[in-house]
């Protein structure tokens, strides 16, 4: 399936894993951004990645809990950066170009880079 094909949002896109062009795991499709309005065709504009995108999908108390564990960052992935959608979403660029590696990098500051075999 290409990004332009018709798609069932909930069963075929939401909560799918995301890999970049280097086949590096970049996260999960947590929500989507649509373009259009009443009486106009709806178009998928971007994928939203990161727990901040759960807002609207979860009750407030659950969102606060999620924020405590995983933060509330969101990264926007424009649809022109999507190469294919199958059992996973594959991008046509490195995830770092879109800022998908920022949270891991931030956490990486707390993890020393020595001692492991």
């Amino acid at each position: 399936m290409t990004p332009d094909s018709p798609i069932k949002l909930v069963s075929e896109l939401l909560d799918l894993p995301l890999f970049d062009m280097e086949d590096k795991y970049c996260g999960i499709v947590d929500d989507v951004e649509l373009e259009g309005g009443a009486g106009k065709p709806l178009k998928l504009k971007a994928l939203l990645v990161g727990p901040g995108a759960y807002k609207g999908r979860l009750p407030g108390w659950a969102m606060r809990l999620v924020k405590l564990v995983a933060g509330d960052r969101v990264v926007r992935v424009p649809m022109d950066k999507v190469r294919s959608i199958k059992s996973a979403v594959h991008l046509n660029c490195p995830g770092r170009d879109l800022g998908l590696d920022k949270s891991e990098k931030a956490a990486g500051k707390w993890v020393p880079r020595w001692g492991a075999l």
Partner: protein, 411 residues
């Protein structure tokens, strides 16, 4: 197939079956009801083999960890409920294992329990940090095989093999009072829970991905699940039978984990005791590692973080910080001074309550041809899967009333 490939199954089984809960419940079951509960171990073993094989197959066929798929299949809200339930269950279990290891070290060295708990937390964290995944499996899985001393001890004490064989046939002993019947019922539920702990399938399926299993490893998955869990079950049945033979007639209630080690001391003396304690130490330490990693796997997979110990700790930093934080949280629970046996009982109770939530999504995923293609559940896996789902649901419904009515199996 390289025999070392079986270490994932051995570690999952030795650390899953013969963890702190098993040591206590198998020994108590034998002491109170003789050989009458062996069939429950057999029944539950087939269940954990079915679900472990299924989780390994899902990981291989869909090439994604079970928790990723679970979220996609169940949706965010229900997925989050399953995640929260499994975090609590695994954390309590991890604390029970950590307390159990500290207790065993306390028996071995005489050093204070709290100090041993702190020391062991540091040792476990360092071992996961330093060792790659396959070495974590080998160290804890293979050294846990010292537990075989319990099976050797059983042969050495010349038990009544006909009575042991009779225990394999499902039955309820005659002549039990209604109070004893309730306690028997609680033991049935507790054994099902202890054998089918949810963390085992999370650890097993994620472990398969850590090892880079591919479709050609379907057979390895099947053999690993059957042999690994079969070995764990054999050891648990040996502990139960030793207890039935040695503790039951003497009216000894093996209330604390150390009592089980005496089973090897009776036929083999001091060295039997030391080997049994060492086996218990590595098996329970392995279970602590499994529960902690299983929890970190679930959290990382759910939120879409980079995960796995096949990577260096700094290549999956959020996963690394999570398992360290979970060990710290488990240690904090142990240091509150809560009794290890109480932790074991809560771990058993909470696990059985969340078991249906754990296994239903797995069953649905494994039967879904969209994800699984040609590897979707066949008739046998489907039939067994639904049978065990009904069984654990029944056990989950009965668990809380039985726990309250029997004061956690203490009559």
């Amino acid at each position: 197939m390289n025999p070392l490939e079986l270490t994932l199954g051995i570690m999952t089984a030795v650390g899953g079956f013969v963890d702190i809960s098993e040591l206590v419940f198998a020994a108590k079951a034998g002491s109170q009801f003789g050989y009458a509960l062996i069939w429950v171990f057999v029944l539950s073993t087939v269940g954990i083999v079915v679900f472990s094989e299924m989780s390994g197959r899902v990981a291989i066929a869909a090439r994604q960890p079970v928790f990723n798929l679970m979220r996609h299949r169940l949706g965010l809200k229900l997925g989050l409920v399953v995640l929260a339930a499994s975090i609590v269950s695994n954390l309590i279990t991890c604390a029970a294992e950590l307390g159990g290891v500290a207790l065993i070290l306390n028996y071995l060295t005489g050093a204070p329990y709290a100090l041993m708990a702190i020391l062991m937390t540091v040792v476990l964290i360092v071992s996961i940090w330093v060792l790659p995944f396959e070495w974590i499996e080998r160290v804890y899985g293979l050294l846990g095989l010292f537990m075989i001393v319990f099976a050797v001890a059983l042969v050495a004490i010349h038990p009544p093999w006909d009575k042991i064989a009779g225990g394999f046939v499902p039955h309820v002993p005659h002549g039990l009072s209604s109070k004893e019947l309730l306690t028997f019922g609680y033991f049935v539920v507790a054994i099902v829970s202890a054998v089918m702990f949810p963390y085992e399938v999370y650890f097993y399926s994620s472990g398969g991905i850590e090892e880079g299993w591919k479709p050609k490893d379907m057979l390895t998955n099947r053999i690993t699940a059957i042999l690994g869990m079969g070995l764990g079950s054999l050891l648990a049945i040996a502990i139960l039978s030793n207890s039935a033979q040695l503790f039951g007639p003497a009216n000894v209630d093996p209330e604390i984990p150390g009592s089980a080690a005496l089973q090897a001391a009776i036929p083999f003396g001091k060295w039997g005791l030391i080997i049994a304690l060492l086996g218990m130490f590595f098996a329970v330490a392995g279970a602590a590692v499994e529960t902690c990693l299983a929890n970190a796997y679930s959290i990382a997979q759910f939120f879409g973080w980079s995960w796995g110990r096949h990577k260096q700790p700094w290549e999956a930093p959020r996963f690394t910080l999570t398992w360290i934080a979970l060990f710290a949280a488990a240690l904090a629970i142990v240091l509150t001074g809560v009794d290890v046996m109480m932790l074991v009982e809560f771990a058993i109770l909470f696990s059985i309550l969340v078991l249906p939530f754990t296994y239903l999504p797995l069953l649905l995923l494994a039967g879904d041809k969209q994800y699984m293609g040609q590897y979707a559940n066949g008739r046998l896996a489907k039939g067994l899967g639904w049978f065990y789902f009904a069984l654990i649901t029944l056990a989950a419904v009965a668990a809380l009333p039985l726990f309250i009515m029997t004061s956690g199996g203490n009559g």
